[in-house]
């Protein structure tokens, strides 16, 4: 029961990070770099928190969730590096 409660608390924290990180991309005043930072908050940190919550909820699915977490962090990191590199090109 406690574990269920803790996992739902982490899940709501992850959802809050999703909302906070996704809403600034509608604002046209921010630069693309700030948007990349907030997308990192949403897509890496929020999603990893959701993965942790799902692991606490259903521990028998750990191989699936571990593969998800590793691929998520690797892809998102390389992706934001490449997008930063494109936007920061000296023209």
């Amino acid at each position: 029961m406690t574990i269920t409660f803790v996992s739902y608390a982490i899940l709501s924290l992850g959802l809050y990070f999703w909302i906070w990180g996704t809403l600034p991309i509608l604002n046209k005043e921010h630069s693309i770099f700030y948007k990349l930072h907030t997308l990192t908050v949403a897509d890496s940190v929020g999603s990893l928190l959701i993965v942790v919550a799902l692991f606490l909820l259903a521990p028998q699915y750990w191989p699936l969730l571990l593969v998800t977490a590793i691929s998520l962090s690797l892809w998102n990191t390389i992706f934001s590096y490449i997008l930063g590199n494109i936007s920061d090109r000296p023209s």
Binding site: F17, F33, L36, V41, V67, Y81, G84, D88
Partner: protein
């Protein structure tokens, strides 16, 4: 002998990946995985430097704490402006190990507050940070008043 150890480590890593993806450790599955791992080309595993790699992997362990902390730091900034700085490349990464270089980039970019945009020269990363506009103004004013 050193090459044999490296080969074994690469094979062990690949079989671990195989077992994770298929999520079973039955004998037939392990044998299939071994065949698949041997069929994938090995590349130049002779240049693998374990000495440089182990501290980098250990440094990853403190990433979760940094991650959450920098998230809340980023949330407290209301008026963000761009701030480019330069950061020294780790000494293990400059010694020529490709993996150590990758892990260094990974550690900087993974946290929400900092983002590597370019490699300036062989030992400096160009890093983008978010700064608060009001903070920067007060710093400039204090510098002017110092003069």
């Amino acid at each position: 002998m050193a090459n044999f150890t490296r080969l074994t480590l690469v094979l062990l890593f690949r079989i671990t990946c195989w077992c994770l993806v298929t999520s079973s450790i039955e004998t037939t599955n392990l044998l299939t995985g071994l065949v698949v791992c041997l069929l994938i080309p090995f590349g130049d595993f002779r240049r693998l430097k374990m000495r440089a790699l182990i501290p980098e992997i250990l440094l990853i362990l403190r990433l979760p704490y940094d991650m959450i902390k920098e998230c809340f730091e980023l949330m407290l900034i209301n008026d963000p402006i761009d701030n480019f700085t330069e950061e020294k490349v780790n000494i293990r990464a400059t010694s020529g190990s490709k993996f150590a270089e990758f892990f260094d980039l990974f550690r900087i970019t993974f946290t929400p507050m900092s983002l590597v945009t370019r490699r300036e020269n062989s030992d400096v990363w160009r890093v983008h940070l978010v700064a608060s506009a009001s903070d920067v103004e007060t710093k400039v004013k204090s510098k002017e008043s110092d003069k």
